[in-house]
Amino acid sequence: MTISRRNLIKSSALGSLALAMPNIVRAQLTTLKVVWMGWPDNQVLPLMAEFEKRNPTIKLALERMPFQQIFQALEIRLNARNGDPDIFIVDSPLTASYASRGHLMELDSIIDKKRFAPSGIAAASFDGKIYSAPFGSSMQVLYYNKDMFKAAGVTPPSADPASRWTWEQLVEAGKKMSKPAENIWGFTFEQQERPYQLLPMGQSLGGTALSPDGFKASSYIDGPAFVEGFTFMQKMYTESKISPPGQFDTALTPELFGAGKCAMMVAGTFVFDTLKTKFPNLDFGVAPHPYFAKGKPVTPTGAWHFGVNARTQQKAAASQFVTDMLSDDMNVLWYKLRPYVPTLNAVWEKEASSFTSDLWKIAKYDVQNTAVPRPATPGFREYEDIVRVALRDIQSGANAQQILTAAAQKIDREIAKYKG
């Protein structure tokens, strides 16, 4: 027996409600309902205002949700399956998940692939078609506290990607500056438990995080490369004690670094501005993301895209939104408001003058040479959640192989449902 959920609920709701309130009267203009990330006002509003200026007949009903709840709230809205919201933020690895469940509109006809970096298009595609709009990308770099290095007499890492530090070098340096008893640490990841941050540990040793078809984790995430990579990570907390354990709040780790309690931190390019404005007295430098000596450099990437609801009632207006947002000057405006690593090639050229700093030279090099996006699978939510829990447990000392094998089995079980 198959029942369409919407009909089931509709009939029972209407059946028991004798008095139904009248529907809200629709506006005269075309209104697009947009669910966006809760980024600060001064970064989002100018962008949206610019769009409305260019399109006087389209009004944007903008809703910004806090990061912690955005996925869940979107799930509930999308579950109602009626075209609300018209446009919504899509974390790039979720493209496959939303697309396979019929929530995203195909964008091949309105996006010109050649204008974008290949990794951006790859992150936006599912089953050979583009489903989300590549709006930006991300890159991680190594921040270090110049004063702490000087005080300990350690030579800081160079900003040249050709001579980037190895993880082994980082641990050695960290040990010299770490004083756990006084709450001073050598190193921390910005995101201590997220696959986004930590998969490169295994990928640098040659590991692949998931089967190419996106449905099998066993013998991939629990292979020797990841076991070795994550065990190395574990030892930073348990043996060499250069990292403060249990810092899972990504809003707190930059505070640690900024307050001078941690000598090194691998974090997003984004943190640069935060550090500069919040901690003006902090003397810090940037270096490329480390790698394993016997492996190759791998850096995390992937970003906030946005997508069009497959059931939108405003197809034309929504397509216009996509086209405008991805236009050269709108994308440059977005970059200026919120400096993400660009996926649109034009932005690199147009804003060349702002890319001269160490930070951007490193970011540009890595995004074009060492970046590996997260695995593409419709079951990404499940994958990420399960690996996250595994990483937490590994950090606190559990046996990496056991944890990863159990996680891989769980992942396989959960993503099997997308095969049908």
Partner: protein, 276 residues
């Protein structure tokens, strides 16, 4: 044990408990007064500065007020107070019925009442949202208020209290020719000061704390409630702890007002009744 000693012991315990219960709130407010780079500077290593901020600023508050916080406070107050007024009325009526009458299906209906507050909210949120969409209430104050007016727990609260009123009082009133509405309205409710106060507090706090449902059910800025406004300060790459603590402190301070107000009247009513 001498009276002096036991009093001393009592007050010592009171102070210790008060410290445990109030320090986190104190810390919250103090943190909101610190400049951005000082917020966590003194939290890890204990010193006098951990407790008292030497560097003092109202920047965080001005930031918070510039964003939507003022409107959000108004929304939450409006929603909470409206739910309190409707809720006290609707639920006390039901509690009265269960306490005073015997009627067909009473046992079954009572079990249903219990059931209604035992259901995990996260599991009814999806059908509830779809329901809201169907009747066109998404993005309205109605969506925030109506689902929370009738509450099994409050009905149960009134029921327990009303059960304690002696039967003779009702019999006398019936003999005087009063109808049940008059008995409820003129006799029982006036006696129920403390219970009404408690119910009001519970409903108010429940609505004041509301977060996930308002996030899902409403989308416009003009309807944002305070907890959502607070949470919005926590973005992925760039948490504004200062504004977060400032708006959270405002939420806590505003929520304290009904307590202060009720506290004065509450104890008076209870003591008067107890001395009956």
């Amino acid at each position: 044990m001498s009276h002096r000693l036991s009093e001393g012991l009592r007050y010592t315990l009171l102070v210790i408990i008060a410290v445990i219960l109030l320090t986190p709130i104190y810390w919250l407010v103090m943190s909101s007064l610190r400049p951005a780079d000082h917020i966590f500077r003194f939290s890890g290593n204990f010193s006098i500065e951990t407790l008292i901020p030497f560097a003092f600023t109202l920047d965080n508050y001005s930031q918070a007020l510039q964003s939507n916080v003022g409107r959000a406070l108004f929304n939450s107050l409006f929603v909470s107070l409206t739910t309190v007024i409707c809720g006290v009325f609707v639920n006390s009526l039901a509690g009265f019925a269960f306490a005073v009458f015997d009627f067909r299906f009473k046992k079954l209906l009572f079990v249903l009442i219990l059931l209604s507050f035992m259901m995990p909210f996260e599991s009814i949120v999806i059908p509830l949202y779809t329901l809201m969409r169907t009747i066109g209430w998404t993005d309205t104050y109605a969506a925030l208020i109506m689902p929370e007016v009738a509450g099994g727990l409050i009905i149960f609260l009134f029921y327990q209290f009303f059960r304690g009123i002696p039967r003779e009082i009702y019999e006398a009133a019936r003999m005087d020719g009063a109808n049940w509405w008059q008995i409820y309205y003129k006799m029982t409710m006036p006696l129920s000061g403390p219970t009404i106060a408690t119910a009001s507090l519970m409903i108010f706090i429940h609505q004041w704390d509301a977060f996930f449902w308002p996030l899902v059910a409403t989308s416009s800025e003009r309807l944002a409630v305070i907890q959502v406004a607070i949470a919005r300060n926590m973005t992925m790459e760039q948490a504004n702890w200062g504004a977060f603590f400032a708006s959270a402190s405002l939420a806590v301070l505003v929520a304290m007002v009904p307590f202060f107000w009720l506290q004065r009247h509450y104890v008076k009513i209870v003591i008067t009744n107890a001395d009956r």
